[in-house]
């Protein structure tokens, strides 16, 4: 694997008495979609702003494209901020051309690329309209065009699916996947956990300004797997030695294991039986949303208990 596109180590940022970010670290590599997750007010936006040199950090190390983020490197970044907007009283086409030229494109190239993007997002016929006359979804698509038009190597998108209908959500997901396949680095912040599960390779979960969870999605889910297995097959799985509880869910059996019993013990026990036929056996994994809630709420409860 090549070196990280973004590397944050021990990032700290305060605003007066408020500690927005106290200890955040993660690396993001080319060709991956990285999820930046956290509850509201956790410090995600501050982390992104510090990473993009909009704010200066109090402490910590930041490396983007292998070093300090200079003005030239900024043109290699596409950013869709959480609080976004366009010039409402200006027309769509000149607004996007202006933003593209600020990213280093010459006007002719910007116009040429813009025409393609507008057609792909079904906005071409609206290019002469004022931004304020476009629907919220159209404005969102225009924002995504402004983020991608200069073909950035690092794409930072904050809630990219906000305000989009299912068709356009699918289009944006396809585009994000295309960018990943093209070798670009994508950092995505969203509260839509099913989108994270569908798109992201790795995640970091920030809570109260700290990284509390970091790694590959599958590994995290595995680590948070409850002491249970999911079994599908023929026969009665309600009575399995070592299983405290067995319940049937959507055609599969969810077996809760007794303390000290491993999934291997259950598998061996089932394999020894002639009255059942195993078609699928897997460790029960919680959803990313369950993990998010349990980590955030668990941390909150822990702090309350300490207090």
């Amino acid at each position: 694997m090549s070196g990280p596109t973004v590397s944050l180590t021990g990032l700290c940022k305060t605003f007066g008495p408020v500690k927005a970010v106290t200890d955040v670290s993660f690396d993001v590599y080319p060709g991956e979609i990285f999820g930046l997750l956290g509850p509201n007010g956790a410090g995600k936006t501050t982390t992104i702003r510090v990473m993009l040199d909009i704010y200066r950090p109090d402490h910590g190390q930041i490396a983007v494209f292998g070093g300090r983020l200079d003005e030239g490197k900024k043109n290699r970044i596409g950013y869709l901020p959480e609080e976004r907007g366009l010039y409402k009283d200006l027309k769509l086409e000149p607004t996007l051309v202006y933003l593209a030229t600020l990213k280093g494109l010459d006007e002719a190239t910007a116009r040429k690329r813009l025409a393609d993007w507008l057609q792909r997002f079904d906005l071409y016929d609206h290019r002469h309209k004022k931004v304020q006359d476009l629907s919220r979804g159209m404005q969102q698509k225009a924002q995504i065009i402004a983020t991608l038009i200069h073909q950035p190597d690092l794409i930072v998108v904050d809630e990219p699916f906000l305000g989009l209908d299912p068709v356009n959500t699918r289009l944006v997901k396809t585009i994000i996947e295309e960018q990943r396949q093209a070798g670009r680095t994508i950092i995505m912040s969203t509260h839509q956990m099913y989108q994270v599960e569908a798109l992201c390779n790795r995640i970091v979960l920030i809570d109260r300004g700290r990284s509390v969870l970091y790694g590959e999605v599958e590994q995290i889910k595995h680590d948070f797997a409850g002491n249970a297995v999911v079994v599908a097959g023929q026969g009665d799985f309600s009575q399995v030695p070592g299983a405290l509880e067995a319940r049937r869910e959507n055609g599969t059996w969810h077996l809760a294991l007794a303390p000290g019993v491993s999934s291997q013990d259950i598998f061996r026990a089932l394999a020894a039986r002639d009255d059942v036929k195993i078609e699928r056996f897997e460790i029960a994994e919680p959803s990313l949303e369950d993990i998010f809630v349990s980590v955030v709420q668990g941390a909150g409860a822990g702090e309350a208990a300490d207090a």
Partner: protein, 417 residues
């Protein structure tokens, strides 16, 4: 530099595309005319002190009567139109003539007039402001009969009938009549144009900054443009727009003066001093940059246009002072007050240019004043640049006195650190 150029071009383009900009540009001259030339025109007609011959020529066609119980009026002065004063033997007949409308008023000259000097005026329509000219005419007739000398009687009414004014001030370029009120319209107009050109274009700066905060484009811009570049691009772009606006106003005014041979005759006689345009442009540019940087800083701190404009009046207050004290410039352009205001950097942009338009200002004064203005502008640009930061441009905190004081203190500490 490229980004500054892009922001500059964007500001010019978006401002020139605004309908409000062109409405203001073309309606503003009408406002200037309404607020400067018209009042002067009215003032000339209303308050200009008339000479005796003017009074005789302009006397109301309706005659006045008199009852001379003292027997003073033996004859009317030579050249006095007899139909203006009609003699009546007694008050009853004068009263009847008044009731019949033969006369509009009549004078009663009592028998003891020579001892008391009292004359009674009876007018059909009482008004505190009517009959004053008629009183002067009666006084002229009485003086003539008492003195028996026409020249002396005229002198008593108008002691300085043929004064030739000769200025002992350093030679001015103006050949126009200094008593002509139109001449005073020029410095008024200059003052208004400078004031509005500076404050309007600086106001565009505030709106431009606050709108980018309001519509949330600031964060996208900050990833491409440094805050200082953003500020500089805006100041320069809107400055060029302001110069265009000024050129339209000045050029339009020049064309109007050349095309109009009636009302503007006096104005065309009014020649501005050599180099005036250069001084005006220099003072305008520095004045604009100074106030644009102040209003730009306000815009960087304000979360929306409404809160930003609440403090605009205070920010432009120094420019208003010369307008409030405009009589100091027309009556004594080289007096202590006008000189002090034209040397003080915050009031100099309007005050000095106004003085330059009406008086021959010693060269050292505009030079020193401009140097002070340039230095102050530089300091204000430095100071305002400190407010153009990511945390202020992305902040939603409301703008109030407490916050302004905290920010200024923070900036001062930063500057001294």
């Amino acid at each position: 530099m490229r980004n500054i150029g892009l922001v500059l071009r964007h500001e010019i383009k978006t401002t020139l595309e605004k309908r409000s900009f062109w409405l203001t540009t073309f309606l503003f001259p009408l406002f200037i005319i309404a607020s400067t030339v018209l009042p002067q025109l009215l003032a000339r007609d209303t308050f200009q002190e008339p000479g005796l011959d003017t009074l005789l020529a302009a006397a109301q066609p309706q005659s006045a009567g008199y009852v001379d119980a003292a027997g003073v009026i033996a004859a009317l002065p030579p050249g006095f139109p007899p139909e203006l004063l009609r003699a009546y033997p007694d008050e009853a007949s004068a009263q009847a003539a008044l009731a019949a409308g033969e006369v509009g008023q009549y004078y009663l000259i009592p028998a003891d007039f020579v001892a008391t000097g009292d004359v009674v005026l009876v007018d059909s329509h009482f008004s505190a402001f009517t009959g004053l000219d008629g009183g002067t005419l009666m006084e002229y007739v009485l003086n003539y009969n008492l003195l028996g000398d026409l020249a002396l009687a005229r002198l008593l009414i108008d002691p300085t009938p043929s004064v030739t004014m000769q200025s002992i001030a350093p030679a001015t370029q103006n050949s126009a009549d200094p008593d002509d009120p139109f001449v005073f319209a020029v410095p008024f107009a200059v003052m208004f144009i400078l004031f509005f050109a500076i404050t309007m274009s600086a106001g565009f700066m505030l709106q431009s900054v606050v709108k980018e905060k309001e519509n949330r484009t600031a964060e996208i811009l900050l990833l491409s443009v440094r805050p200082r570049e953003l500020m500089l691009g805006k100041v320069l772009g809107l400055g060029l727009v302001a110069l265009l606006q000024l050129a339209i106003w000045m050029g339009g005014g020049w064309l109007a003066l050349n095309q109009s041979g009636n009302v503007a005759t006096a104005l065309t006689d009014f020649t501005l001093p050599a180099g005036f345009a250069i001084w005006a442009v220099l003072y305008f540019l520095f004045g604009y940059i100074l106030y644009a940087s102040v209003l730009g800083a306000l815009g960087a701190l304000a979360p929306n246009v409404r809160e930003g404009t609440q403090f605009t009046f205070l920010a432009i207050l120094p420019l208003l002072v010369p307008i409030w004290l405009n009589t100091a410039f027309t009556q004594a352009p080289d007096g202590a007050l006008a000189t002090a205001l034209s040397l003080f950097p915050l009031t100099a942009p309007t005050a000095m240019v106004t003085r330059l338009s009406i008086s021959h200002v010693p060269l050292w004064q505009p030079v020193v004043s401009l140097a002070g203005l340039a230095g102050t502008t530089y300091l204000f640009v430095l100071l305002s640049g400190r407010f153009f930061r990511a945390d202020t441009l992305l902040s939603d905190a409301s703008l109030n006195w407490g916050r302004i004081v905290r920010e200024v203190r923070g900036v001062r500490l930063h500057l001294t650190a």
